[in-house]
């Protein structure tokens, strides 16, 4: 080696092995069991819906993303998977595709791409679908007889109203809220996923395992799911005890999009607070809003809007929860000096 080939860089000269790309892909890997479970429960429809949503995301990122290499960071893949998992199994594929594209374009790219967005892109996509196709997104076809039969109207053509199967089933939340004969679905069914619902809503167990894996790897801030669960449990417990709501606290925790939302949506690093203290506020807010929307809202489910609303507050939470500067009692020296 001659003098001229020596690299000159600023310190530190060593770096941790952790990388954003590795974080993103390990999130993808942790979702594999959840995707597999959705296929197990709902048949080929599940994979079709997920593929359509992922395709929408990847294509939009490729076409409009900040640079051609941005597909490799895995974030578009995560958005596609997460959006797909929030959709019902019989969802028309073109809608899933459109939702993925919308979420990517208006949830992320328009803000300047990775790291710049305010709202979780997967939830932006879902909120769009909820507004545009309210019927399709709340239609849960009854389980088909054979595993390989497609559910609902996956292949409905664009802008032709999907023909809904006569036989539909209610989700545990919808049943309890709007059913003629409300029943509380047993926890066992909720936990292992043998209930109706969106693709990834149903198996609390696998999502919990995926989330714990990510938390163990340090790729997920466990303060967020924990604070959401604590808050949901306490707030819904209070209302349940007062006789105001018909939702038992544990049912609240394991039904609907709670698990997926708490472990995968709310913990999106870009759209969650930066300090642990902030994450607790954020999680408490989500839990509270979920309970309020589920009890008094016009929809059976509230996780999506709860997270989106709290996403909007993140800049304020960040400002309010700046760390205390070493050697001071506050976040700024100025305050110290004026004392």
């Amino acid at each position: 080696m001659t003098d001229s080939t020596v690299k000159i860089t600023a310190s530190p000269h060593v770096r941790s092995a952790d990388s954003t790309i590795r974080i993103m892909w390990s999130v993808v890997i942790s979702l594999v069991p959840v995707v597999a479970a959705s296929i197990y429960f709902f048949g080929p429809s599940a994979i079709l819906v997920i593929v359509a949503s992922v395709a929408g995301c990847l294509l939009t990122e490729r076409l409009f993303g900040s640079n051609p290499g941005s597909l490799a960071d895995g974030s578009a893949m995560i958005t596609g998977l997460l959006l797909g998992l929030t959709l019902p199994p019989g969802f028309p594929l073109w809608m899933a595709f459109l939702g993925g594209g919308f979420g990517m374009a208006f949830g992320k790219i328009i803000y300047g791409g990775l790291g710049q967005n305010i709202f979780n892109p997967a939830l932006v996509g879902r909120a769009f679908l909820q507004a545009a196709f309210p019927v399709a997104i709340t239609t849960w076809p009854a389980k088909t007889q054979q595993w390989w039969t497609l559910q609902g109207d996956n292949f409905a053509l664009p802008f032709m109203s999907p023909v809904v199967d006569a036989a539909t089933s209610a989700t545990p939340l919808g049943n309890l809220k709007f059913g003629d004969d409300p029943v509380v679905t047993p926890l066992f069914d909720l936990f292992f996923g043998t209930t109706g619902g969106s693709l990834g809503e149903t198996s609390a167990l696998l999502i919990l395992l995926g989330g714990l894996y990510l938390a163990y790897r340090g790729h997920l801030n466990w303060h967020i799911p924990l604070s959401i669960f604590v808050s949901t449990f306490l707030v819904s417990g209070l209302f349940y005890a007062l006789g105001i709501s018909q939702f038992p606290p544990l049912f609240m925790l394991f039904s609907g999009g709670m698990m997926l939302g708490a472990f995968y949506m709310a913990t999106d690093m870009v759209t969650s607070p930066i300090t642990n203290k902030g994450c607790w506020l954020f999680g408490f807010g989500i839990g509270f809003l979920v309970v309020v929307i589920r009890i008094w809202g016009g929809l059976p489910e509230g996780v999506m809007y709860a997270i989106l609303l709290m996403n909007a507050l993140v800049p304020f939470i960040n400002r309010a929860t700046q760390p205390r500067l070493f050697g001071t009692s506050g976040k700024k020296k100025k305050e110290e000096a004026s004392q």
Binding site: P12, R15, G115, I274, N276, R324, L325, F326
Partner: protein, 441 residues
Amino acid sequence: MKGLLSFKHGVHPPENKDITAGIASRRFPFPEEIILPLSQHIGTPAKALVKPGDYIERGDVIAEAAGFISSAVHATASGTVKSIELWPHPSGNMAPSIRIAVDPNSAQMRRPRTVPRWQDVKDEDLSKEIGKAGIVGLGGAAFPSHVKLNPPKDQPIDLLLINGCECEPYLTSDHRTMLERPDDVYTGIRIALKALGITRAVIGIEANKPDAIEMMRKTAPSDLDVTVQPLQVKYPQGAEKMLIKAVTGREVPSGALPSAIGALVQNVATSANVAAVFESGQPLIERIITISGRGIQKPGNWVIPFGTKLRDVIDQCGGLTDDAAEIVFGGPMMGLGQANLDVPILKATGGILVLSKDECKRQDILPCIRCGKCLEVCPIFLNPQLMGALAKAERFEELEAEANLKDCMLCGCCSYVCPSNIPLSQLFMAARIQLKRLSVS
């Protein structure tokens, strides 16, 4: 390792100290030429006392302190002054330096120098003797020791902390100093205690050096009120504020010096060299330096005269390996990358690292995903994420006024953990330089 005293946050990079920790220090051969910059310390550069053609002997003072915060420079080998000229300095600039052609026929014996017994020197005069010997802090900052040992009268010191943490990966020079010169360290502690007029000292050592802890405990004089305190292995445990926090539980107020809470920190190698001043009359002319990294053929610990050129050190250590990629003065977390093999070793150079390609891999910089890992490691509890965004946007005034840039130690923890490889501490360093220029203009 848990349960030991420490500070909050910080990182734990691979230690890589086993490369050289077990290698006893050896005397480095005198090179043909010595380059002694007038600025080897924080403060005003020293004023040269020699002129080209002068024959000087090893240990002679060749430049005197110029101002309150300044330090003398001594000849580290006998020979003839060639010139005083601008020479590449490890800081990356050119700096006025004294070039000495080392006398090949000299036995390199020091000129006998009469120094009073330290026990006989008045407390307040001790620091003068230490100043005359050109002692500076050897932990890396190179702050003149005689200034440090003369704290403001309104901020009395009551605790002397001896820093044996050596929290930078790879470096083992403090480790070897404790193993090889424990008595000198203790004598240095006695002298510092006398200079400060206090009695209590604590030696903080990271728990990854059990043999050094054992050695310091074994050799502790029974008449001295000194505790050897093992500390959790965590970077930057050896930073003054972090060491004080770990040992005393107290935080040095933002913007203040450790003396504000009655503490004074001195590196173990500084202590050992203070002892040498009074024991043998030797000023600060050499020290133990670790040569390590997987890019050097023969790593080791050497007692090297200051002013020896990087080139000579690399040659002595068998040369570079094929995959050598980066040469660093200091540790891998805060050390300075070197571009020129002619730069001399300075008083505060505790180590020279030659890192291989694998050791200093660089990955592409990705956008910040606000993961918050930088906040979780910052030992000063700053918000490096926000600071990085402000620095990138060149909002320097805000960075200083709102984001407390001045409190940043540039320890590099944030850059180390950033999964998007954003060079945060580099941005902060650049921002400081820009702010300085703004305030000048």
